[in-house]
């Protein structure tokens, strides 16, 4: 104790939020290292999505602190937090449906966010190649000139992940990236996550246990707004408290 932790990256301390008396998150503390892929699981209403909302500024905390790379994020405006390097994928895929895949990526590529700078922005040509590589990374190279409204549900999810990569945020928050996906699509999403591991710090909120086992190093289990357990998939699934509230008696292996 008392040591300076070299890998200090994202530290959440005693974070609480209160919606008119309903405590969605209470005294949540998490410590996530650089390049780590952390899975956040828990039953419905455990406050997983709210925790992500708090980190990215969509919801303002009642108390507690969120320190990211030494910077306090709590109570900052969303766009300021985004500029600090935090990217968020929403539960319901949120992309620009009236723009093409390429245009979507172009918007997300935001080295310069100023209004005037973007009025006279040059060099969009030079960026084109990078965007095409990103589209390839998530397997959308054939769809790049298509309007995003023509994409399938899975493709929309991947596009949103690609948008976060274009944004080049170091910390990526994924809210149920495999929701509504087929087994094949889930596998592809897991591949994408595994390839990002190490380069980005990722927090994934998921229900799909197979997916969590596939990608997660450390799993944090939330229950009623606070942390219940933390550990590897095996540790968590053998934890009797976790079995009781969430996984049921069969455990993580068969869920």
């Amino acid at each position: 104790m008392g040591e300076i932790v070299m890998s200090e990256h994202l530290i959440i301390e005693k974070l609480s939020v209160d919606f008119n008396g309903f405590k969605a998150v209470t005294e949540l503390s998490l410590n996530i290292a650089k390049g780590e892929l952390r899975c956040l699981i828990g039953p419905n209403g455990a406050g997983k999505t709210t925790a992500l909302d708090l980190i990215c500024g969509k919801t303002k905390p009642t108390s507690g602190s969120i320190r990211y790379c030494g910077k306090e994020l709590a109570n900052l405006e969303e766009y300021v937090i985004a500029r600090a390097g935090v990217g968020r994928k929403f539960q319901v895929p949120s992309v620009f449906r009236e723009l093409t895949v390429r245009e979507n990526l172009e918007v997300a590529l935001c080295r310069n966010v100023g209004v005037i700078a973007n009025l006279f922005h040059k060099g969009r040509e030079a960026e084109a190649e990078g965007l095409e590589k990103l589209a390839e990374f998530v397997g959308l190279q054939e769809e790049i000139e298509k309007s995003a409204s023509y994409l399938s549900h899975g493709q929309t999810q991947w596009l949103e992940i690609a948008l976060l990569l274009a944004q080049d945020s170091e910390l990526i928050l994924l809210d149920e990236p495999t929701a509504g996906m087929t087994a094949q699509e889930t596998q592809k999403t897991a591949d994408i996550c595994n390839r990002l591991k190490g380069k980005h710090t990722i927090i994934v909120v998921e229900h799909d246990m197979g997916f969590v086992r596939e990608i997660g190093d450390v799993i944090s289990v939330m229950h009623q707004g606070s942390l219940l357990a933390e550990g590897t998939a095996t540790e968590v699934s053998n934890n009797p408290k976790v079995r009781e509230v969430y996984l049921g008696s069969i455990g993580i292996d068969n869920a």
């Binding site: 766009y79 620009f96 245009e103 172009e106 918007v107 209004v115 009025l119 006279f120 948008l163």
Partner: protein, 361 residues
């Protein structure tokens, strides 16, 4: 898949520039075929209204800000020009020291301070643009910082318009009240006198429309324009990429106000008066209808929409055949367009393009 490029522009943009250029060239060629000055004046009027519709297309179609008070910027521009031209009328029509006639009737003895700067035409031209812009920036800042969206933006802009309209009517000694500002001098610039019933005014309007159309097109084609369209689609998503959404929306709102202000100044020159009806609710609602008919997502579409609707209105209301049923016909056209062409007349172009693309491959 690689994009096809023509002079460094995507094919779509290149075609768009050609179409816009062609439309503007047609505007400039029109006086060669129309010798009647009365008709030219009427066409100038249509073009000015087309310009206001284009301004609304920028904020509504491209940034999703439904401004029901577009007439505010338009009217303010119009009054700026009217004040300047009123001060330039022949002294016989005015009171002592060139005091405007309506002020004499209202027992005003000295020219009020806010009328003084309008002796300068440079100031007038700047005021006609920047008064609407500053007001838009002020209202926009409050609305967009406060995350007011959708129908509430429409209500706030409409309410602001009504307030401005009432103020102008109420302050009769300084604004001419219900009568507006009439009996104006002719606008002079670069040694040319712009008679409302002449080719010179028509060309002035056409030139301003062309410049504004291409400037706005450049804006929508810039990265900022792309971000605005993204904001129209998913405002929150854009915010989480680190863009200050309020600043971008304010930009669109202010540029739209500037174009409407310029159109307002031209309207005074063309109509030879300024009236509180320019800031009336009916006009502002009409602008929305023109925009919807022409296609709110296309600058040129909205412009043409205004010209077509106002032109039809003129033709139908003057025809002995239709008498008062013309309003009914206009209503029917509007309903049909909204039902079958959600992207307006400009949407027709896209439908044809898709047909051709299907045949090709």
């Amino acid at each position: 898949m690689k994009q096809k490029k023509i002079f460094g522009l995507s094919r779509r943009t290149a075609i768009q520039i050609l179409v816009y250029g062609g439309a503007c060239a047609a505007l400039f060629a029109l006086p060669l075929f129309v010798g009647n000055d009365f008709l030219l004046n009427r066409y100038s009027r249509y073009l000015v209204l087309g310009m206001v519709a284009m301004a609304l297309s920028l904020s509504w179609g491209h940034a999703g800000i439904l401004n029901l008070g577009q007439g505010l910027s338009f009217g303010l521009g119009s009054y700026c020009m009217a004040m300047a031209l009123k001060l330039r009328t022949v002294p016989v029509h005015t009171g002592s020291d060139g005091l405007p006639d309506f002020m004499v009737w209202n027992n005003v003895e000295h020219l009020p301070w806010f009328w003084q700067p309008f002796h300068s035409m440079t100031f007038t031209l700047l005021a006609g643009i920047f008064i609407p812009v500053l007001l838009a920036a002020f209202i926009g800042w409050f609305m967009f910082k406060g995350r007011v969206t959708g129908v509430f933006v429409a209500i706030i802009t409409l309410a602001t318009l009504v307030v401005a309209n009432l103020l102008i009517i109420d302050q009769q000694p300084f604004t001419g009240g219900f009568n507006g500002i009439t009996d104006l001098a002719q606008f002079k610039m670069f040694g040319i006198e712009f008679d409302a019933y002449s080719k010179s005014t028509y060309y002035l309007v056409a030139a301003c429309l062309t410049i504004c159309l291409f400037s706005c097109l450049a804006l929508t084609k810039s990265k900022a324009g792309l971000i605005l369209q993204a904001i129209r689609d998913e405002e929150d998503r854009v915010r989480f990429f680190g863009y200050d959404v309020a600043a971008y929306k304010s930009l669109a709102f202010c540029v739209s106000a500037a174009v409407a202000g310029i159109a307002g100044m031209l309207y005074t020159i063309v109509m030879e008066f300024a009236s509180p009806t320019f800031l009336g609710v009916p006009l502002s609602l009409s602008i929305v209808i023109w925009c919807a008919v022409g296609g709110r997502k296309s600058l040129l579409g909205a412009t043409i929409g205004a010209i077509v609707v106002v032109g039809m209105q003129g033709a139908l209301s003057e025809s002995a055949l239709f008498l008062n049923t013309w309003t009914l016909i206009m209503g029917a056209v509007f309903v049909l367009v909204v039902l079958f062409l959600p992207n307006g007349l400009a949407g027709l172009v896209e439908i044809f393009q898709r047909r051709i693309a299907k045949k090709d491959g």
